[in-house]
C-alpha cells in the first residue's frame, strides 16, 4: 500500500462513489446546523418532498444571531432573528434532528458544542454551513464549511459532491516562548502564507509546538485554517485527543470505544507521504501578534509598528492604503500605542475554558481602563458554568467585564453586540474585515491574554510585560 497523509486516509475511508473525472460523493459522518445558513435548505427539502437522510447524524443549535443577554429563551426582540431561531426550532422538530435550543445549558457556538458533546471524533467527516467548521480538524477529523445548497444536499443525501484537495504540511517546531499561544501560531502562519496561501489545500499542522498544545489550543489553530484559504486544517489525533473524547456524551463506550481507538491510532501521516507544499516555522520565532489591517494576513508582532502601503507589492499596496484609512491608522505608529475602546473575548476561535482562564490570569486583581467597554461571551453554556464554578467569571466581573450568555456575538455582530462606527476593538475572534463587527467598526485580532492586557491598559499591549 502506498504512503498516505492523514487527509488521504480520512478521504479514502469516506468515498461513497467516485466518477471518472475524480468527482466523489464524500460520506458525511456529522452535519452541524445553525439558524442562519439552514432555513433555505430545509425549505428546499420541503418543496421537493424530501426528508433528512440521517437525522441521527445531524445536530442543530442556534448561535449566530441569538442575543447574549438574559431572557432570550422567552423572547428575542429582533423580528428577523426570532424568525430564524423559530424556523430552526420547527425544522429540528419536524425533521427529528438532535437539537440544543437556547434554553438548554448545552447550547453554544456550534463548533464548541460539537466537540464538547462528543459528536466530533477522530477520523470523521464533519460539515456545517459555516466556514469555521475547520475547528473540528483538531481531532483529526476532515471538517470544513459548506454553502446552503450543500447543506441541503447533505441533509437529503448525507453526502457532499467533492473533489480532493492537495496536501499541505505546516510544521511548528520547538517550543513556544512564554506569553505565546495557539492564536499567535495560527495568526503567524496566515501572516506568512497570506489569506490565499492555503487555497486548494488541506493543511495538516504538526511539530512539537502543535503536539504541546491542549485540545482547546489545537481547535484555535485549526479554526483559522480557513483564514489562510485552506479547505480544512487538521491535526493527527494522539493521547490528548483520546483523553478529551473519552466519556463525552456521544463518544463510543465499552467495546465500541476499543474498536474506535484501534482505528484512531492508525490516523497519522506516513513518514514518506507526499506533500504538495510544506511550511516550517520555528516555535521560538513566534511572538505575541496583533492584526493592524482589514485582512487576517495583516499580522505583526506587538513590538512592531504600523506598516506603510509602500512596504507592500502588487494589489496589496492599494489594499493596505484602504486598510489604513479604514482603520484610522498612520504608518510608523508603534502598535502598542494604539488606543482601544472595546474588548471582546469569545467566539469559536477563543471562547473555550482555557481561553477564559488565560484572560482571567491577566485580569486577576485588576480593573479595565476607564471608559472601556469589555465583554466576555463564553462559547457554550457549559463553558460558562465551568468558568463560574472555577471563579473565573467573578474575576471578569470584578475587573469590569460584562459576563454574557453563550453565542457568536460580536465576532460577526449579527445580534445586538456590535461596534459603533469608528469604535476600535481588541478581539479574540477570527476576522477583521471592514464592517465585520459592526459598520465602521475597527478590529484588531489577538489572543485572549493579549485582549485582557489591552483591556487593562487601554491600548494594544505586549502581554509579556504583565506576566
Amino acid at each position: 500500500m502506498s504512503s498516505k497523509t492523514l487527509y488521504d486516509k480520512i478521504w479514502d475511508a469516506h468515498i461513497a462513489h467516485e466518477a471518472e473525472d475524480g468527482t466523489c460523493l464524500l460520506y458525511i459522518d456529522r452535519h452541524l446546523v445553525h439558524e442562519v445558513t439552514s432555513p433555505q435548505a430545509f425549505e428546499g427539502l420541503r418543496m421537493a418532498g424530501r426528508t433528512v437522510h440521517a437525522p441521527d447524524k445531524t445536530i442543530a443549535v442556534p448561535d449566530h444571531n441569538v442575543p447574549t443577554t438574559p431572557g432570550r429563551d422567552v423572547h428575542i426582540d429582533n423580528d428577523e432573528s426570532r424568525i430564524q431561531v423559530d424556523a430552526l426550532d420547527k425544522n429540528a422538530r419536524d425533521f427529528g434532528v438532535h437539537y440544543y435550543p437556547v434554553s438548554d445549558i448545552r447550547q453554544g457556538i456550534v463548533h464548541i458544542v460539537g466537540p464538547e458533546q462528543g459528536w466530533t471524533l477522530p477520523g470523521m467527516t464533519v460539515v456545517c454551513g459555516d466556514s469555521h467548521t475547520a475547528t473540528h480538524g483538531a481531532f483529526g477529523a476532515l471538517a470544513h464549511g459548506i454553502g446552503t445548497s450543500e447543506v441541503e444536499h447533505v441533509l437529503a443525501t448525507q453526502t457532499l459532491i467533492s473533489k480532493k484537495s492537495k496536501n499541505m504540511k505546516v510544521e511548528i517546531t520547538g517550543k513556544l516562548a512564554p506569553g505565546v499561544t495557539a492564536k499567535d501560531i495560527t495568526l503567524s502562519v496566515i501572516g506568512k502564507t497570506g489569506t490565499a496561501g492555503g487555497t486548494g489545500y488541506v493543511i495538516e499542522y504538526c511539530g512539537e509546538a502543535i503536539r504541546d498544545l491542549s485540545m482547546e489550543g489545537r481547535m484555535t489553530v485549526c479554526n483559522m485554517a480557513i483564514e489562510g484559504g485552506a479547505r480544512a486544517g487538521l491535526i493527527a489525533p494522539d493521547e490528548k485527543t483520546f483523553a478529551y473524547c473519552m466519556g463525552r456524551p456521544h463518544a463510543p463506550k465499552g467495546t465500541q470505544w476499543e474498536a474506535a481507538l484501534a482505528w484512531w491510532k492508525t490516523l497519522y501521516s506516513d513518514d514518506d507521504a507526499h506533500w504538495d507544499k510544506v511550511i516550517t516555522i520555528r516555535g521560538e520565532d513566534i511572538a505575541p501578534v496583533v492584526t493592524w489591517g482589514t485582512s487576517p494576513e495583516d499580522v505583526l508582532p506587538i513590538t512592531a509598528s504600523v506598516p506603510a502601503p509602500e512596504d507592500f507589492k502588487g494589489g496589496k499596496v492599494d489594499a493596505a492604503k484602504r486598510s489604513l484609512e479604514y482603520m484610522g491608522l498612520t504608518a510608523g505608529t508603534p502598535l502598542n500605542q494604539i488606543k482601544i475602546d472595546t474588548v471582546f473575548i469569545g467566539s469559536c476561535t477563543n471562547g473555550r475554558i482555557e481561553d477564559l482562564r488565560a484572560a482571567a490570569a491577566i485580569l486577576k486583581g485588576k480593573k479595565i481602563a476607564e471608559g472601556m467597554r469589555a465583554m466576555v461571551v463564553p462559547g457554550s453554556g457549559l463553558v460558562r458554568a465551568q468558568a463560574e464554578e472555577e471563579g473565573i467569571a467573578q474575576v471578569f466581573i470584578d475587573a469590569g467585564f460584562e459576563w454574557r450568555l453563550a453565542g457568536c456575538s460580536m465576532c460577526l455582530a449579527m445580534n445586538p453586540d456590535q461596534l459603533e462606527p469608528g469604535e476600535r476593538c481588541a478581539a479574540t475572534s477570527n476576522r477583521n474585515f471592514e464592517g465585520r463587527q459592526g459598520r465602521g467598526g475597527r478590529t484588531h485580532l489577538m489572543s485572549p491574554a493579549m485582549a485582557a492586557a489591552a483591556a487593562v491598559t487601554g491600548h494594544l499591549t505586549d502581554v509579556r510585560e504583565m506576566m
Partner: protein, 201 residues
C-alpha cells in the same frame, strides 16, 4: 437552477484584492429565510453612505455599470464566510459571471450551485479584461461556456478552464441533489459497510 450557456454583457471592473463575503453582503442581511431579494444590498457598505444614499463613485452605481452582468476583480475573491447569501446577492443583482485571478474555495463552490460561473484566470489576462471593462457600457464582453472562451470588446479571445462535471451541470441547469439521489444505491452500500467497520459513527 438557471442554465448558463453564453453571456454577452457589460463587465464591471473592481480592481481590489481580497474582496470578502462581508463586503459582498454584510451580515445584517443574512437574517432572511429566502434566497431572493438580496441584490439591492450587494456590496451594501461600499455602495451606500450612512444615510442610505448611493455613493456615486462606487462602480455599480455608475450609469455605465448599473446593469453589469459580469464582474472583473482582484485575487482571492469571495474570501471569508461560507454564506451563500454572497452568490445569491450577486445573482439577484444580475451578475452571472465573476472573473478573478483566484477565488476562495467555498465561495467558488457556492457559485456553481446558483447558476453563476466563476472563472479563475492568470493575472495578466485578468488585467486585459479589467482594462476592457474600464471602457464602460460600450465594451461588452462575451463568455461562452460551451467553447470555454471569453471574447473582449476588441475581439481578443481568452480561453478558460472549467471542471467538466460543473460545466455539464451549469449548461443544463441540473439540480445536484437529483443527480446524487440517482446514486442512492452506492450511498446505501457505503452505509451498510460503515455500519460494520465504524459502528460508533
Amino acid at each position: 437552477m438557471e442554465k448558463f450557456e453564453k453571456l454577452t454583457g457589460v463587465a464591471a471592473p473592481m480592481d481590489m484584492i481580497n474582496i470578502d463575503t462581508d463586503m459582498i453582503i454584510p451580515k445584517n442581511f443574512l437574517k432572511t429565510i429566502k434566497r431572493t431579494g438580496l441584490g439591492v444590498n450587494l456590496f451594501d457598505e461600499m455602495r451606500y453612505d450612512d444615510d442610505r444614499n448611493e455613493r456615486p463613485d462606487f462602480v455599480l452605481n455608475k450609469p455605465a455599470y448599473r446593469n453589469a452582468e459580469i464582474l472583473i476583480a482582484g485575487e482571492n475573491f469571495g474570501c471569508g464566510s461560507s454564506r451563500e447569501h454572497a452568490p445569491w446577492a450577486i445573482k439577484d443583482f444580475g451578475i452571472r459571471c465573476v472573473i478573478a485571478p483566484s477565488f476562495a474555495d467555498i465561495f467558488f463552490n457556492n457559485c456553481f450551485k446558483n447558476g453563476i460561473l466563476p472563472i479563475p484566470l492568470p493575472q495578466d489576462q485578468v488585467d486585459i479584461l479589467m482594462k476592457d471593462a474600464e471602457k464602460g457600457e460600450n465594451a461588452r464582453i462575451t463568455v461562452d461556456l460551451e467553447n470555454q472562451v471569453i471574447t473582449t470588446s476588441d475581439g481578443e479571445q481568452i480561453r478558460f478552464e472549467v471542471e467538466s462535471f460543473r460545466k455539464h451541470c451549469l449548461m443544463n441547469g441540473l439540480d445536484d441533489i437529483g443527480l446524487t439521489l440517482e446514486k442512492a444505491a452506492s450511498i446505501d452500500a457505503f452505509e451498510a459497510k460503515a455500519a460494520q467497520s465504524r459502528p460508533w459513527v
